[in-house]
Subunit: 465 residues, 2 copies
């Protein structure tokens, strides 16, 4: 611990008393989570109860140049919660109040620690829901900070589209609102979109104003199997090109289906499979289904197997959300390393085919799932933590996938973010734009106290002159 950090913690302790913890297990817990990256524990953890707590803590940390790491639920996958330079982790999970719901405006304001499931539970009687669904029950603040998306993004969009304003504590402790409640605005630089996806490196999000969507009159969920992964992907790409407003179009390869059958007690045919969902009026859903089944049949898809009862639908999507745990159970004792490229949809069948060849060639176990309507897919690559050779082969696989994504105009991460894990890939993706990213970081956080060592190494770049 640096002397400055020690002084900061002393002052934080005086201000916050029991809300501040330096207990080793608490510190360690806040550097853990689903990430497979090496993480470093912070020197102290603050359990913040209000925006004012965050303002006070950040002001103290700024004064002493003590690093600040925001923490929601620990479900980020690229090392975003690691305290790379020690310092203070601010745990926002206690800031879990829903501050306002306006059914007539289809929007709400929540504290950053509210989770998406808690929000949807609270919305139950309003006829509205919050559609962004990354699988994990992440916090809304964390989802904003990683620009999360997930299964519904093909129809509804991502956090980029759903956040209308953020309350943010800046690096020096100043508090700003990034936008208004208007559905659109041309009033100056888009600060909301700048902080969405900034992974806590520009400030700490404490409140989020979100758009909401009306719960559709009817939801139809179905499973459809295909002879090949490529056929399943091509069916979805064709549907998108035909303007069928799919609400969800999730691909699982045969290995992932097998894993889900075991883990989630399903009895699906062990073949490449799409989990589909249709939202709309009764009539609109009927029409979407009829158009979609014509397309899937064209690509050799099976008849739709319907999950009609709400409990069957819940079971199906719970299984989809549990793909990660199902995959890990394929090889007990293994860890999982997720990949996350996103490419123009016409490139998706080719990119997936080449990736599957790589998996075979590199002798890896890597079930595949994907938000194929967005051009985004994941492998859950299983790794024996003791096997350095396997780790190297996995790194090679990831590097090939990302290089291939970049070659066809895609991105190294569709929804997981950069964290510590993808900083070099970001450099490859952004090129000369890295200097712009560094200029923004330096302008808003000149002391480099906000989640330092994530997204970019700011000292590698000169300011513009």
């Amino acid at each position: 611990m640096t002397r400055a950090t020690r002084e900061a913690i002393a002052q934080l302790s005086e201000r916050f008393g029991d809300k501040l913890s330096t207990v080793a297990s608490v510190r360690r817990h806040h550097a853990s989570g689903v990430t497979s990256h090496m993480t470093i524990a912070p020197d102290a953890v603050l359990f913040a109860a209000s925006t004012q707590d965050v303002v006070d803590a950040v002001t103290i940390c700024h004064h002493y140049r003590c690093p600040v790491v925001p923490f929601g639920t620990g479900t980020s996958t690229e090392g975003q919660i690691s305290a790379e330079q020690g310092g203070l982790t601010i745990d926002l999970s206690g800031m879990d109040r829903i501050l306002r719901v306006s059914p007539s405006d289809l929007d709400c304001t929540v504290e950053a620690g509210v989770t998406r499931k808690a929000l949807n539970a609270a919305l139950r009687d309003t006829g509205l829901f919050f559609p962004i669904d990354p699988g994990a029950d992440a916090s809304i603040g964390g989802m904003a900070s990683t620009r999360a998306s997930g299964t519904n993004a093909v129809r509804y969009g991502t956090m980029r589209e759903f956040v209308t304003s953020l309350r943010v504590v800046l690096a020096d402790g100043q508090l700003i609102d990034t936008g208004t409640r208007a559905r659109k605005s041309s009033a100056g630089y888009d600060l909301t979109r700048l902080f969405v996806g900034a992974e806590g490196t520009l400030g700490v999000v404490t409140e989020v104003t979100l758009r909401l969507a009306p719960i559709p009159e009817r939801i139809g969920a179905a499973v459809c199997t295909f002879p090949t992964v490529e056929a399943a992907v091509s069916a979805v790409v064709t549907a998108i090109q035909s303007a069928i407003p799919l609400a969800r179009a999730e691909l699982l390869d045969a290995l992932q289906v097998e894993a889900c059958n075991h883990y989630s007690k399903l009895d699906l045919a062990v073949q490449p499979t799409l989990f589909l969902e249709f939202h709309g009026t009764h009539q609109a859903v009927d029409e979407q289904v009829s158009l979609m089944s014509a397309i899937t049949a064209e690509f050799g898809g099976s008849a739709f197997r319907w999950a009609t009862a709400p409990e069957d639908r819940t079971k199906l999507w719970q299984a989809r959300h549990d793909v990660w745990w199902a995959a890990l159970a394929l090889r007990p004792g293994s860890q999982g390393i997720p990949t996350d490229v996103c490419v123009p949809i016409s490139e998706l069948p080719g990119v997936i085919a080449q990736t599957r060849q790589d998996v075979v060639e590199l002798n890896l176990i890597a079930p595949l799932c994907g938000h194929v309507g967005d051009g985004n897919f994941h492998l859950c690559v299983l790794v024996d933590p003791e096997d350095e050779g396997e780790k190297r082969r996995i790194a090679e696989l990831n590097a090939r996938m990302i290089a291939r994504a970049h070659a066809v105009g895609g991105t190294c991460t569709g929804e997981h973010g950069i964290g510590t894990g993808k900083m070099d890939y970001l450099v490859a993706e952004r090129g000369a734009g890295m200097m712009t990213l560094a200029a923004l970081k330096r302008a808003l956080d000149p002391r480099n106290v906000m989640n330092p060592g994530k997204i970019l190494r700011v000292d590698d770049y000169q300011p513009y002159a």
Copy 2:
């Protein structure tokens, strides 16, 4: 002209020859347009033919600290094209090539000077269209720079949602791409959204990658009249809350309808009127119309009068696009001053009612039209250019509208931008956030050469420390 600007122009002249003009009429033309604000002509105009031209010009201007003002079609309304500190205007209208259309990915890349009508003409055989429609045939680069939207935004979104990447010449002449062609990405700060809406103050946009939408199988356009403006607005708000995917929902008050009848040779009933459009399959449009007509009837709306033939539809929307000219024709010799607030939709009926009272009280002529599904509406306030008292009353009207919008969580501009005209209102809207805006401006344009004197007065703010 400053000495530095004179030196810059000498060097630009050497580099560009005939592409550079210092002719008074050319300079004056590039500070004109539809804006009613006082504007200042640049010292020279460059007709850029390529991104390289822009790189070279900006590099020279940066060296000499000569201001640079980007120019598309001159249709911005808040003085964005005024050369406040003289310098060089870069006219991008010659950069009008469509570089790539990928029907299978529903996207394209165009040079900044391509206009939206030219783009849609070029897309005609692809089954796709570019739905953002601000009325004027603006350039795509200009639309990106003002975060434009318009009649289709209620269904399709704004430039914020449709731009996936920009090629931008930064203040020092460096060239960057702000994103990739992926439909979503979590790879670092969202530079695309930072430059969308920056009004040329952070760099010059030279190429734009855009999403496109499939042309719907059926388009239904109808007109519906109401007893009051408030009834018409409430019908649209109810439709939005009921998740009816209206493609367009444009309100005209009785005075505006009268103006359009004269100007566009229509024979509409002189009453508050909605121009509605429905997009979808045949079946989906039928269902939307049936749901919507039940709602409009509830609010006293008339039977729908259909514009079935494509030429009738074109005539209807041409009339909508000509509301500005129609309004001006109400009082020959007058100029028009557009207002542009946007509020949460539940607040819209109240805000419009109070605004209409203000118009009466202040003794002004101000037909109203609005993208009411977004909470966005405009007055076209007619002004006698010689009448200083009227000008003061119009300023008072605008100030009241914006204060009212701010009081209910809205914004001072839904789609026109800040330019020179709304800088003080932006300060009122952003509060402490202005310092963040200034920090971004200073970081990316430390010499303040990019469209200086627009959006914000950067010298009013200290950098973060």
